[in-house]
Assembly symmetry: C2
Homo-oligomer: 320 residues x 2
């Protein structure tokens, strides 16, 4: 952020009365937090602000002040269009039409610098952390709702201050946001801790069936489990997170049976492994440490194929 184009941003904001702010599809805490942080701060400064999330606000962020103002589509014209936490324009969900982006604020190293003015700091732990420093520098106050939104973004993107990119500065920014009225324990709980009763019951049978071979663990969530627990989604109810906390494991594989005859498979791996190559082989993709694929076939067939391929990667690494 050494070359932060503050004067350009200040100029953009000075001349704008109507402002459109957007963040990304499948929004996480940093998408919602940085959207509300910038949007509410601009409102407080007297701007007319429209905040957009193409997929709407996830239920676990609806407690945030201003979240009820967030809309899913763009209508009208604006003096200024800003995106937050979006590495490219498509991430907004293609709601912009022909509108160009004036201001692009983000922390993704892959950011395409698609704005007229780009404020991209890949060393920042969250876009919300960038805004916590930028807003005061622009003369926009960190009032309580703004601080709550930004602290939510910071806590979410660092999974509670514990991702490997954590810095002392990120902790000091969080301290400052607390001093501006954000209640850390409450916001933390709402963003990261809460789980539904049905989600936790849904885990039960899968944990009972959890299996281990050397440093590989795996289990499956079946359609029958989903029905028995009345779990409404077709996802893994965050069971992946629990599997990734088990000690002495290098690769964890989770199978989620779908009602279209497919099986959703997800891999989580320790550093040194690349599970994206396995996912790719099965028509999926992802990162070395976290990948997924949607594979046609019965649960049993898919399990056998995937475990065999995964075992090869695990043992190849052991030998290297």
């Amino acid at each position: 952020m050494k070359d932060a184009p503050f004067s350009s941003i200040r100029g953009l904001l000075q001349n704008a009365q109507t402002v459109l702010v957007l963040s990304h599809i499948r929004p996480d805490g940093d998408a919602v937090g940085s959207l509300l942080g910038l949007g509410l701060a601009l409102q407080h400064a007297g701007k007319e602000v429209t905040m957009v999330l193409a997929d709407g606000v996830p239920s676990n962020f609806r407690h945030l002040t201003g979240s009820n103002q967030i809309v899913r589509r763009v209508n009208g014209n604006f003096d200024l269009t800003a995106t937050v936490d979006c590495s490219d324009i498509a991430r907004t969900g293609n709601v912009l039409g022909e509108r160009p982006v004036d201001l692009n604020i983000d922390h993704h190293i892959t950011n395409q610098n698609f704005g007229k003015v780009n404020l991209v700091d890949s060393a920042a732990v969250a876009t919300s952390a960038i805004l916590a420093e930028v807003l005061p520098a622009l003369g926009l106050p960190l009032n309580r709702p703004v601080a709550e939104a930004l602290l939510t973004g910071l806590v979410s993107d660092t999974i509670g201050f514990r991702t490997s990119n954590m810095t002392p500065d990120a902790l000091r920014i969080a301290a400052k946001l607390m001093e501006h009225g954000a209640n850390l324990p409450e916001l933390y709980h709402q963003a990261l801790v809460q789980r539904s009763y049905n989600a936790v019951r849904y885990w039960g049978q899968a944990l009972t069936r959890l299996q281990k071979k050397d440093r590989l663990i795996w289990t499956a969530l079946t359609l029958e489990d989903r029905r028995a627990a009345s779990y409404p989604g077709n996802d893994d109810a965050d069971l992946n997170h629990i599997l990734s906390t088990i000690e002495a494991v290098d690769i964890a594989v989770l199978f989620v049976e779908q009602n279209n005859g497919h099986v959703k498979v997800s891999w989580r791996a320790q550093p040194g492994y690349d599970v994206s190559q396995i996912a790719l082989k099965f028509g999926g993709g992802g990162h070395p440490a976290a990948s997924g694929a949607d594979i046609p076939g019965s649960l049993e067939t898919v399990q056998n194929q995937v475990l065999e391929a995964t075992w090869s990667v695990l043992t190849a690494n052991n030998g290297s």
Copy 2:
């Protein structure tokens, strides 16, 4: 900590060559962290230090530098005896014999001020947080092993910076400890995240049997579950923590069947309830938000009695 008796402590330390440091039985991260933090800092200053935990070092803290020096019994005489994180002398596990305590450093509001010099700050989130400020003030350096121990204590006692007593200062202390070489993500993972394969399998059946009535949830871990999962302990494998993260729940009760014909019961409650009164009725005790009891009887009998009593408390509160 306004009246911190720094000059008294400095005097005590100056005149001591051999130092005994102790923390409490059933040690948690702050017990181990504050013990190692003070002990290693004194060693670094040239003192001969004996560090004691009557129950030894739990496996999830054995990665900390110096943890292999910690012994379980006290032998010999010392110029100075210090306790950390102990609210009363009995908490040391009665290993002191007739030795008086010279220095008592703690953050528990219930501390009995049993030392010749007492440094008790109940506003501190952890005894480790007190030491992170006191050690430099005493001229004792925060080198890397000391910073790692203290950050472990701070992270453990705040369950990862999210207990209701969190302060901006606690975050700034953590930032300072990172700058002294403590790797927050790694220490966090080792102190709080890791779980054993058998522990997670042990949860399975209990989660499948999880039940809910209004805002009360409960389940049981049976001896059969323990055997099936080869879980070595007679505790709840931290399943209580998972139950306490379920949304729209006021009281969670967990029953753990014991092989002596008893059932260990634990309650977790939201603010506004006092589950310690229920625990007390069954011969146990605790705090309004977290209590436990060890009750003779079959799992079924104990469940029925406890759920009836708990339901009364829940409904009495609803009516108030």
